[in-house]
């Protein structure tokens, strides 16, 4: 029958991963929209986008079997 613990794990991981990615990107956009624009805000925004890029790379790593054996 159905493996509920595996399902719950999948649901939780998906929830956390998606929320983290979307939050980071949103915070990045939010920081870019600060008025007047300050250097720390811009740097913070790009740090957020950088973390998002890391998330995307992690996704590619997971998708390509050759990368993780």
């Amino acid at each position: 029958m159905i493996d509920w613990s595996a399902f719950l794990l999948v649901a939780l991981v998906a929830l956390v991963a998606a929320s983290a990615l979307v939050s980071l990107y949103s915070v990045g956009l939010r920081l870019l929209a600060t008025e007047p624009r300050t250097t720390p805000a811009t740097a913070g925004a790009w740090a957020c986008f950088g973390l998002c890029a890391v998330g995307v790379l992690a996704g590619i790593w997971l998708i390509v079997p050759a990368l993780h054996g």
Partner: protein, 425 residues
């Protein structure tokens, strides 16, 4: 002679199934970026096609069983014969074409399982199907996948709107369009690594059964190549009808929602394929769009359309099983039966294609989605235009006017007007 004919038939139908798989599933990745104008339809399907092509070559892991344990095969079970695979594929292809005609996103894997189940029941009796596995692998996930994705996408959308709540004059939410390009590309790549595998497995299994390959052989390089090309071509052709359903038929998708929905789809699919609980990409992506729709205040969900989609998910397996069963019955007559199957199958597919031409041309409907989505000027753009005096609306551009191709304001066609003020075509 007969076995050679059979193998050729199976390869042809399998490649066509791969093709329908491609254009059925373009929408999963590309419906929301097209709807929000993050990518134009042509660019979106090109990106999806290239990533599917690349993805098909990337994956070295081949699905060992085509049926995923639903049919009791191997020792003590039934031997899946090439004729059964052929009949099963016909069932899957016919059902994929019918759902495409209706613009319904349904799972291509389930259509394949259904076709094979129907063929197996006719060829080897009801006992050859493990209905416990059907319940745990097909029926329950069909409920869980969209629910999970909807909850994830709802949460992500609420977070995104809360974080980017408008503080002053500026709204930064258009920036979500750039993010969409990445998240939807990931969905496409994941699709390519998974879905072309199914067809490669089917063809390899048939070659083994026909004695052209030794048992346990890896798929030959030409099989990988033709499968990759078939799914890429299908993706590029674009199932505009399904794109239209997912991109605008369920709910109006804004960039914030599109980004959240695609991020949720990616996260859910990657989690499910790496933590051992398989969920259908199609169902996850539909669920994400509904969740994102619920997450924006004032957004409306077309529950009628959602209901039709869910109904299609539950009908997919029995319906393609029925077609597969009939095809298997005819195929059991021998070579004439196979030829009849092939001819009737081709006639049905051709007929559905002709039917689809009678209703509005696909390219045009996709264009409508695109134009409707990109022709709504953002408030910032309206202000910019108003400042320059090139937009003449009574309210001074407070309400974003909806432009149509046929009633463009004169300003937008005036010479020297920047490109981004015109509805994209």
């Amino acid at each position: 002679m007969e076995i050679a004919l059979l193998v050729v038939l199976v390869i042809v139908v399998a490649l066509f199934f791969d093709f329908t798989n491609g254009f059925h599933d373009t929408a999963n990745a590309m419906a929301t970026p097209i709807a929000t104008g993050a990518m134009t339809p042509r660019v979106a399907v090109t990106v999806a096609a290239v990533l599917n092509l690349v993805g098909a070559f990337l994956s070295t892991e081949v699905a060992k069983t085509v049926s995923g344990g639903i049919i009791r095969e191997g020792d003590g079970g039934v031997q899946i014969s090439p004729a059964m695979i052929f009949a099963g594929l016909i069932g899957a292809v016919v059902w994929n074409m019918i759902t495409w005609l209706r613009g319904l996103p349904s799972s291509s894997s389930h259509a394949l399982f259904g076709g094979l189940i129907g063929a197996a029941v006719v060829g080897a009796g009801v006992a050859s199907v493990d209905f416990g596995v059907v319940l745990s692998k097909v029926v329950l996930p069909a409920l869980l996948a969209p629910l999970t994705a909807a909850v994830v996408a709802y949460t992500a959308t609420r977070l995104a709107y809360a974080i980017t709540r408008r503080q002053g004059e500026r709204s930064e939410r258009g920036g979500f369009r750039y993010g969409q390009v990445f998240t939807s590309s990931l969905v496409s790549l994941a699709h390519g690594t998974n879905d072309a595998q199914k067809t490669m497995g089917v063809i390899t299994l048939t070659l083994i059964a026909g004695g052209f390959l030794s048992a346990g052989a890896e798929p030959p390089f030409w099989v990988i190549t033709v499968c990759a090309l078939a799914i890429a071509l299908g993706t590029y052709t674009g199932g505009w009808r399904i794109i239209k359903t997912l991109g605008g038929g369920l709910t109006e998708v804004k960039p914030t929602q599109g980004f959240s929905a695609e991020a949720s789809t990616t996260a859910t699919i990657l989690a499910s394929s790496h933590l051992g609980f398989a969920l259908s990409t199609t169902q996850v992506s539909s669920g994400s769009i509904i969740g994102a729709g619920l997450g924006r205040r004032g957004a409306k969900i077309q529950w009628g359309t959602a209901g039709k989609i869910v109904a299609a998910w539950f009908v997919t397996l029995p319906a393609s099983a029925a077609v597969g069963a009939v095809a298997a019955l005819v195929a059991s007559l021998g070579t004439p039966g196979l030829v009849v199957d092939a001819v009737v199958g081709a006639a049905v597919v051709g007929g559905i294609f002709l039917l689809s031409r009678r209703t509005p041309p696909e390219q045009q409907t996709a264009m409508e989605v695109d134009v409707a989505a990109t022709s709504v000027l953002s408030r910032r753009r309206v202000r910019r235009l108003a400042r320059r005096g090139s937009l003449d609306t009574p309210a001074g551009g407070v309400e974003a006017p909806l432009l149509h191709l046929d009633d463009r304001p004169p300003a937008a066609v005036a010479p020297g007007a920047p490109d981004d003020e015109e509805p994209r075509r």
